[in-house]
């Protein structure tokens, strides 16, 4: 069925209705990725795991694409004078990300948000949790950077495992200033040669490790599905921050359907983007990353 709330959701921060015009305050390359910041003068402080829908000048112009806004988790959020400064990590892979990657300071961006269900605290996920294990792949490391900072502020120990395909498809690791970050890369250019899930398997070895774990993952569908299955096999509590083709971000279009474990679908925008591993049938969402 469309709709169900699934597991009790953490408190979401409500978005003001409608789009807001913000100004880009900074933009830089980070490895093979791009990160830009905008000043959101009228928006609330978002909760880690929530996302925004973004458009910019150039939407719907030559060639008619991009047309729909694009959903992005925020990679940084800092309240200062004039509002919340939000950072977005991206890789130029299509017409929407192409426009966003070309933004320079002073350019206008329209955003709606924060939207969706944020991460749950480790003890909500698993009452015996000793800390949090963050598993990120590619630009999916973005919401985990914010979550790590929020957990660190609460004194919750975190371990971050970050995986990348190769040097050209990596970046943003400086967003994690924690003492314990382990890297994996498929081409071996940084850290462990192989998948980030190899590192997770090591951390979850043994009954004690599994019983006290709370895993948070964001990355490509194949990685998320590997994490989901590994956690399910070991009885480990996990939350996944997912992506699905999404036109609106607030429950209107019904495009972002993700199959539920009990049959039917959830709308990822309002019932996610953060979901518990056991809520869904699979994290292999068709059409993600279009």
């Amino acid at each position: 069925m469309s709709g169900g709330n699934g597991a009790a959701a953490a408190d979401r921060v409500l978005a003001p209705p409608g789009r807001r015009r913000c100004e880009v305050t900074g933009a830089r390359d980070t490895g093979g990725y791009r990160i830009f910041t905008v000043r959101d003068g009228d928006g609330p402080d978002p909760a880690a795991g929530q996302f925004y829908m973004l458009t910019a000048a150039g939407w719907g112009s030559a060639g008619g694409r991009p047309y729909l806004p694009r959903a992005f988790s925020f990679a940084t959020a800092a309240r200062g004078e004039g509002g919340v400064e939000l950072g977005f990590l991206l890789e130029a892979v299509g017409p929407g990300t192409g426009v966003l990657a070309g933004l320079e300071p002073g350019a206008p961006v329209e955003l709606t948000g924060p939207l969706g269900r944020p991460f749950s605290a480790p003890r909500e996920l698993n009452p015996e949790a000793a800390g949090a294990i963050l598993v990120g792949g590619g630009i999916g490391i973005a919401p985990l950077a914010v979550w790590r900072a929020a957990l660190a502020a609460r004194g919750v120990p975190t371990r971050a495992l970050l995986g990348f395909r190769d040097r050209a498809h990596s970046g943003g690791t400086e967003l994690f200033d924690c003492s314990e970050v382990r890297l994996a890369s498929e081409d071996g250019h940084a850290g462990h040669r192989g998948y980030v899930t190899d590192l997770l398997a090591v951390l979850l070895e043994g009954e004690d490790a599994a019983r006290s774990a709370a895993v948070y993952a964001c990355g490509p569908p194949a990685m998320l599905e590997a994490v989901r299955r590994m956690c399910a096999d070991r009885g480990v509590a996990c939350e996944l921050a997912m992506e699905s083709p999404m036109a609106c971000g607030y429950g209107a279009c019904f495009g972002c359907a993700v199959p539920l474990a009990g049959g039917g679908y959830m709308r990822l925008c309002v019932d996610g983007p953060v979901v518990r591993g056991e809520e869904i049938e699979t994290a292999l969402v068709a059409g993600a990353g279009h």
Binding site: P16, P17, R19, Y67, Y250, G251, C253, A257, P259
Partner: protein, 314 residues
Amino acid sequence: MADLSIDLCGLRLEHPVLNGSGTFDAIAARRAFGDPLLERFPFSAFVSKTITPEPRAGNPPPRIFETPAGMVNSIGLPNKGLEGFLVHDLPALAELPVPLVVSVMGTSAEQFTRLIEGVAGREEVAAVELNVSCPNVKSGLIVGEQPGETLLLLREVRDLTDKPLIVKLTPNVADPAGIAIAAEEGGADAVSLVNTLKSAPIDPATLEPWLGAGRGGLSGPAIGPIALGQTSAVAAAVSIPVIGMGGIERGEDALAFVAAGASAVAVGTANFRDPLAGERVRRELAESLAARGLESLEAARGRALAATTASTST
């Protein structure tokens, strides 16, 4: 400022901007935006997503595909079914500050009868929209593609309620005016158009169909001129009100539909880009009228009809 209020088959509306069915979920939107949404509700009447007699899960993903100036959707009418709607959704929709239009779809006159009796009898419901873009199980024909099927359905259900019945017309026919005439003859109080245009996007990487269900419907500014053409053809052919829609993004777009003969307009895909698109369209529509020295919608309504239908007898 121009007076934007309208009387739409007995419904007194503050302005002419509605939502297209299935393009705004007021309940989900309230989860995202909270009660401030009710204070700035973007539409003068709210049209629900289509409900069917039994619950539907909807189509397998992917369900949407971005196109130049638009999108293709293949959602598959996920809904809680009639009983689920009445129990779970109707009380929440009754809290909206505007009249409620419930969209229904059946595969037989019996199913439509059950749906109309179920919703029209509720005082929270101001009007019913009939989604006739699906096959009749007996004839196998798409009701809304056949004037005869449309007329038969209306004759079966017209007397079930005194509340307005609006027929949602499909653009996937050679002569939408013929369907509209049949709807009017059967007693429909209004027609709304257009629904989406049949489409089948291909995944450029695999050359397989992109959508999980293979086919879908195109919407957005890409279909605007087609929708305007069909709206003017229908408005010239019937005397009941026409609710025009198809790619409306700005006030100027809405005014064009009014000029094509529409009494009201609906914003659809633009809601996905901006939850308050309807509010902006209404404001810009008022500005457009004022800039032209027009004091009401009626002063603009149908202006384009004489020109676009000059070569046909109306």
